[in-house]
Amino acid sequence: MAAANAHAVSDAEYAEVSGHRLLGFLFFLISDCVIFGNFIFSYLYLRNAAPLWPPVGIERPYLYLAAVNSIVLFGSGATMHYAMEGMRHDRRSQFIGYTLATIVLGSMFLGGQAYEYTHLLPHTTWAGTTFGASFYTLTGLHGFHVFIGVIFLIVVLLQTLRGTYTQERHFGLTAATLYWHFVDVIWVALFFLFYIY
């Protein structure tokens, strides 16, 4: 495999460098987690300090759309998983198909969120109340992560089509997958905190 791609680096070297990158990427995800943690703490703090929650005149966010959207996002986690399985067994078409599906599902999630922001919460604004502040900041930050994830996936898909990654050498794909699952997990917390709790 390696010889076919005529890489300048040896297999051992590639393994070692991607080991460094993987650890670095995990550390990045941990610090990203802290950023969400900060705003979640702020949300719980403000909620705890408020006499009434959500504040008067503010609607609770609409559970059903969010539930559908959650299913879409978790589905995208599954398609991402199958895509990587494809790469691990050198089944390129499986990888490409499932990655495309993940991109589509991720975009659907973003569409759902955009609809929610524009149609379902007429009285909740970002600057209006502490509820709006925490809701839009956290879900917006998450949506931004999904957006970045979609871009990330498009980029690695194009790279795959150009032959950048192989069965053995695909650190970029590993990173994209990790990122995607991370964004999924954050959504679990946000879904619970805003739509159920």
């Binding site: 040896s10 051992a12 070297e13 393994a15 070692e16 460098v17 080991g19 460094h20 650890l23 670095g24 550390f27 990045f28 941990i30 610090s31 990203d32 802290v34 950023i35 943690g37 900060n38 705003f39 703490f41 702020s42 703090y45 403000l46 300090a49 408020a50 504040p55 970002w126 600057a127 209006g128 109340t129 502490t130 502040a133 925490s134 839009y136 900041t137």
Partner: protein, 553 residues
């Protein structure tokens, strides 16, 4: 040699030597060059921030001076604190010393991600420009902590946004550096360099890197919150719309308490390197020092609200944070105990690095003691926001961090430049700095206990004598740094060549030529035991003094 069968890391080659001036000195990837860039840039900010301090001291020479208006005085202490913490202290102890020494001490040829390292460095000048540019719009006036509602109230224009942006940038830089150093320490140690064979400076840098990564990410989020509150009215901290100013204090101190350990742990590391070298005996309690760094790192996330005892906490919260804060004095005490035991009855060589370490030990211990006093809730109710706090922060930040930085500079200068500093000038620098540091900041304890509030441009005439005395001392204190600058200049022109190991130390950086060659090590060194066993043969194999520029795999 019989040890040639050890597996060498495959990626022990690094980026090739740069061929252009820009690649060599401006956008350098070499950790040693980046370290020097940090020293120079942060040194410049030290001069700015120091001048702001002296301006304040001029104003405070009399109880009712009109040198600075109240507004400008507020801006001066806000930017002085901001710059000293984020643009001077943290970049020097992590970016500069961490980069200069840590990779070499673990036997690596560079950090894990040289490109990110360069990026981290270049964020420092950007952050500095953003922070100091806020002066043009009337800088923030709520101190380095920028507590709402005050920070949101004044006619601020763009200045708070600039402040947030600047600190955000340096925060991201610090997070990236932490991540980079941590991967380096976990992944790139030379064969045989187990965790308990790492030099104590590496331990300190590792824990600091962890704190930078976690706590500083939180700072970025907090600053983003303040930024959107200020610019878009998103009511996180605005009490009139359900927000909570105390929330800012929580998120700010959840970063800023660990930050004080980011500022002091590397100085602890420097002390742990200097003492065994100048006493020529194994450090007492290697593991105690190493693990207490880790303990401090973890505990530092659980004490943040000791800065908020007067902000209306619940009683149980006050009790919790008071007790945990006092607990954190224990691992710190363990370190002091180990250092003093190493010094005890040793053959002490009183060269300038050790002098600064002794200065560190005495002043930092005093700062630690006033810290425990401030941690006591009833005492803090009296001392909070008084000059007692100003005295405390300067005993730990100046007496701790800055003395540690100078100890490290005198110690590693020969390694960094290849030339010795003048010992006599070093002693002058130390004694002037040590004496006038204490004359400047010691009297502030009494002023504070007698009731002089901090952050005031004018004060009760009963404090006039003390303040005049403090101001005059502070001028000499600042001037003492000039001796160091002259010493550095003199060393560059006339300093004697240092040779690889002028102090007879045993950590890896002293096993290679000074200044360190581009690839640090020609062959990847092999480590056979810990670094402080004075009196035994050196614990390294595969070391060569050869300056050959081609690294051997």
């Amino acid at each position: 040699m019989s040890v040639t069968h050890v597996e060498l890391p495959a990626s022990s080659h690094i980026h090739p030597p740069p061929d252009t001036f820009i690649k060599k000195y401006v956008f350098s990837l070499d950790h040693k060059v980046i370290a020097i860039q940090y020293f120079i840039t942060a040194g410049l900010f030290l001069v700015f921030a120091g001048l702001l301090a002296e301006l304040m001291r001029v104003q405070l020479m009399g109880p009712n001076n009109h040198v600075l208006s109240v507004a400008v005085f507020n801006q001066a202490y806000s930017l002085h604190g901001t710059a000293m913490v984020w643009l001077v202290g943290i970049p020097i102890v992590t970016g500069a010393f961490g980069n200069l020494i840590m990779p070499v001490q673990i036997g690596a040829r560079d950090v894990a991600f040289p490109w990110l390292n360069m990026l981290s460095f270049w964020m420092l000048p950007v952050a500095g420009i953003l922070v100091f540019a806020s002066l043009l719009f009337g800088a923030p006036q709520a101190g380095w902590t920028e507590y709402p509602p005050v920070s949101l109230q004044l006619p601020l224009g763009e200045s708070l946004s600039l402040w947030c942006a600047g600190v955000f940038v340096i925060g991201v830089s610090s997070t990236i550096t932490g991540l980079n150093f941590l991967v380096t320490i976990v992944k790139m140690r030379a064969p045989g360099m187990t965790y308990t064979r790492m030099p104590l400076f590496v331990w300190a840098t590792g824990v600091t890197a962890f704190l930078s990564m976690i706590a500083t990410a939180n700072l970025s989020a907090a600053l983003a919150g303040l930024f959107i509150q200020h610019n878009f009215g998103v009511p996180f901290y605005d009490v009139t719309r359900g927000g909570a100013p105390v929330l800012w204090q929580h998120v700010f101190w959840f970063y800023s308490h660990p930050a004080v350990y980011i500022l002091i742990l590397p100085a602890f590391g420097i002390v742990s390197e200097v003492i065994p070298t100048f006493v020529r005996r194994p450090i007492f309690g290697y593991k105690a020092i190493a693990y207490s760094s880790a303990a401090i790192g973890l505990l530092s996330f659980m004490v943040w609200a000791h800065h908020m005892f007067t902000s209306g906490l619940q009683h149980w919260e006050q009790l919790f944070f008071m007790l945990l804060t006092m607990v954190i004095a224990v691992p710190t005490g363990i370190k002091i105990f180990s250092w003093v035991t190493t010094l005890w009855r040793g053959k002490i060589r009183l060269d300038s690095p050790l002098l600064f370490v002794l200065g560190f030990l005495s002043t930092f211990t005093l700062g630690g003691i006033t810290g425990v006093m401030l941690a006591s809730v009833p005492a803090d109710a009296q001392e909070h926001a008084s000059y007692f706090v100003v005295a405390h922060i300067h005993y730990v930040l100046f007496g701790g961090t800055i003395f540690g930085i100078f100890a490290g500079l005198y110690y590693w200068w020969p390694k960094m430049t290849g030339r010795m500093l003048d010992e006599r000038l070093g002693k002058w620098h130390f004694w002037l700095m040590y004496i006038f540091f204490n004359l400047t900041f010691l009297p502030m304890h009494w002023a504070g206990l007698m009731g002089m509030p901090r952050r005031v441009a004018t004060y009760d005439p009963m404090f006039a004598g003390t303040n005049l005395f403090v101001s005059i001392s502070s001028f000499v204190l600042a001037a003492s740094i000039l001796i160091f600058i002259y010493n550095a200049y003199r060393s560059a022109r006339y300093g004697e060549p240092a040779g690889p190991n002028p102090w007879g130390a045993r950590t890896l950086e002293w096993m290679i030529p000074s200044p360190m060659p581009y690839y640090n090590f020609r062959d990847v060194p092999i480590v056979l035991s810990g670094p402080y066993d004075y009196g035994k043969p050196l614990p390294y194999a595969n070391i060569s003094q050869d300056l050959a520029m081609t690294p051997v795999r």
